[in-house]
Subunit: 296 residues, 4 copies
């Protein structure tokens, strides 16, 4: 039977572990996360290098051991997280919970299915934890701003991608009919693949038009791709620029103060009298966040 | 002879059919359109897969039947639309009318001309109907904004394309003279094709300069292409950004009200007195659309 | 001896010819220019098609005759322009004068030097005359705006191109040392050519790194190229956007009127009194162009 | 023993040398720098041409002599700079000092290690001196503005590059598993190299997917790359555009004057009375730099 002391010790231990594993604001939590990130990075590098035949034939055993060591560490870490989490299920179903699980499974799978072991590169997604460490730093703010700009543009981008896909299907089929199988356009799916390779200006050259009409159509597709790359760029740029300007407007707003008489908020800091009710204004530089914009 | 009842039934049936087929605001009309879109999508996938030799040799008969089924459905749909339309001719000559017709013809043509059947991918254009379903949703607004930006840039883009074409003709001819037929530049049209492949940064590599002077010229063309891709991007971006700002200005305008005394329109919603005539203003939040802009 | 009548007839003929050939505002001048443009276009198409072996072997004689006909027409046109021009030398030394001359010479040269005949594609430059026809139309305005944006960005773009060239020279030399001649990097110039092909994302694939270190360096160069394409785009976009906003500011300025008492210019059209001297203002909507900006 | 005169002569000589070598504002210093730049350029061209086998076999001796001459000149120049510099160590450790040293060493190294001689292209970095000559010209201002925009975007760009790298690692591994060694994807590093070649739209075509699923994944990667190139472009563009607007706001600010009574700074130049305290204002066009912005 556990004594109350022992029980309390366990509880305190669990709390401390929780802080170590889940918190990033404390010093120990930070160190834990940094060590974890380097371990993840090393395990990814190990998988990548293991795939090179020359290296694997020499150091194969070493990499096998390394892989199993990393997997056992991550398995232990996953179980610990599950154990100390206040709501284990909600952790297990969260984005990080699923990624943490997927980062360990492939090695076990590889015991039954050859090749499955490479799936451990899913661990690369664990590196996203890096943003948690940098939680309070600039990067996250920038990433959020980028993300915000992308989310704000999602409708425009989906319309754009739809138009690209329609173009690619029609052009691919036409090239299949023009060039035919003897020039590499052996099927419509393959011709659509060629059209994507062309419109995105990748241009491998594994399939290339050889007839005059085919080259004419391909030229049109290229110029089209060249011109319409402008569209997503334009969308994202405009979005970022507007977000940017918004931020600066916000900053400027902090240079306004409120009138305590009539509760209006758009008074310049140097104003001596309220422009709406004429009350004498304080000189305080108090920031004003709840102001409703009426200037762009 | 038809009795009046029967006649009225037919008229009501036609109206109901009209709502089903042409309207998208009613529930049944929406379902009809969604079913139609999936049918179109399936028919396109069938055509695309049919072109793969391995699949066609196995399931050729199945695909032939599917193709004819789809074509008969679309033919029936086209005739129905023609029949129930209040002005059949104006439907037949509208964009959607022509696309609907073109979506059925190729299969019939394929009876006489081999290969013509692939033209049915014109059906991909029917997918544009998707915008009708989303009529009231955001996407259409975004698409319109994109379209507006592109239309507003059409003159600039045509000037730009003209300059690109002139560059490509001159550079293509010079490369034909420099490299000659033994290096793949067998004719001026082919050299122009190469120049387009290069300036758009596609770069298949099926034709590539091998002489030193040829590579020097090609390098210049690449750097040119690299620098001038900035131009269409810049045009579209500026256009989108300006449209964006305009929209926000419009939104802000909705926060202004009119003075009913002197009929001026630029009063802040919180204003108590007209700034021009001094009349007491109403508190109503009535939107004001007819205001003439005097702030950018 | 010429009679005065005959002399006057000649002078009037010359004037009329001048209007026909040089002016584009009159109807006859416009028709002349359009006919000329089509002739130029036809002569370019003839040269381009002549270079295709299959076509030339069949219709060689036809193309020779066409080429000489076009050349004689252009020679006659050039001499006419020289004859009727008020200052023949200044025409001969102008951009159009030089292009007009260069458009005829190659055919004569081809009598002495084989292959020289292809230089007639310089005629493509004559197509720039199209802008003269469209003189008063939108396109020229757009082209000017584009040109203005490019000229305004020329310093930034030259700095950018300088940086790209330095990168390309250094990376090219390093790849020459890493990959060596056996992998296609046979000399530094050729390696620099490869670096340009890579940084501009053209990527022919005629030369490609095969060693691991070479591929690592190439990857870095690609990501660099991918990131820095943003720079010229950003420059031109910002320039175009600013020009755009300027234009709209100008348009808005046309909605301001002047005070005739104190000669200040920034009064809203609806203002009843001058905000500087208090004088009663006219209601006239007279445009005001000489206003000095004090709002961005 | 040196006489004082001789000593003073030496000191004066050193000062004059210092001005010649380090200053660019004097005429002699400018000429020195221009001569130096041409020497650097010539030495780089020599190294580049020497690597071409045909040229080297003919003029090998000439290039060897040229290379040694250039190296001795640069060595002498480096020692002179070191000798006349007031703080030799701080020069030796400065960016230009290190580049100057690295520009001479490789030739000496080449005596011991074959091939090391090509490292002299590091001299290309010495060309950055060109900016010193242009110190007072526009270019530097533009370069600074570009640099500022890039520095301001560094966090966003690093987040973006991180996302690209994660995508490339995961996609590379998946393609390694899908395509396998027989299609060129012989190891994960090589597959990652392929993914970079693809996402940057370079597309050499030395490795290209051949299976249907591989081509599907590759298409997704291309469209992704095509869409996300918009992100760095958008970032830099927005940054440049905002910097641009800032500059114009600054310019405008120079059109404002201060009230000497109440020390407010936002008075239009034409204002006759202070709008805050009513004091009569001077007409002086004195620029006002310390004004705090309250208009974007």
């Amino acid at each position: 039977m556990e004594s109350p002391d022992e029980f309390q010790f366990l509880r305190r231990f669990r709390t401390r572990l929780y802080i170590l594993v889940f918190e990033t604001n404390t010093r120990s939590g930070r160190i834990f996360d940094i060590v974890l990130l380097w371990t993840i990075l090393l395990s990814i590098i190990a998988v990548v290098l293991e795939s090179v035949d020359e290296i694997n034939s020499k150091y194969g055993t070493f990499f096998s051991i390394a892989e199993w060591t990393f997997t056992l560490i991550f398995t232990f870490e996953y179980l610990t997280r599950l154990f100390i989490s206040r709501r284990p299920l909600s952790y297990a179903l969260s984005f990080y919970g699923i990624v943490d699980l997927l980062a360990t499974i492939p090695t076990y799978l590889a015991l039954f299915f050859a090749g499955g072991g490479y799936l451990v590169v899913i661990r690369a997604l664990r590196l996203l934890r890096v943003f948690r460490i940098l939680k309070l730093s600039r990067q996250l703010g920038e990433a959020q701003m980028l993300g915000k700009a992308l989310v704000a543009s999602r409708h425009k981008i989906s319309v754009f991608l739809g138009a690209v896909l329609a173009t690619v299907i029609i052009m691919g089929t036409m090239m299949y009919m023009i060039e035919g199988g003897e020039n590499g356009f052996t099927s419509i799916p393959r011709s659509i693949y060629w059209a994507i390779v062309t419109i995105t200006t990748v241009g491998y050259g594994d399939i290339a038009p050889t007839t005059v009409i085919g080259q004419l159509f391909a030229s049109m597709l290229m110029l089209m791709g060249y011109a319409i790359i402008a569209v997503p760029t334009g969308i994202v740029t405009a979005e970022i620029a507007v977000t940017h300007v918004d931020q600066q407007v916000k900053k400027r707003d902090e240079n306004y103060k409120s009138c305590e008489e009539c509760l209006t908020h758009d008074h310049e800091l140097k104003a001596k009298f309220c422009k709406y009710c004429g009350a004498v204004m304080k000189k305080s530089r108090r920031k004003n966040v709840s102001r409703d914009y009426d200037i762009l």
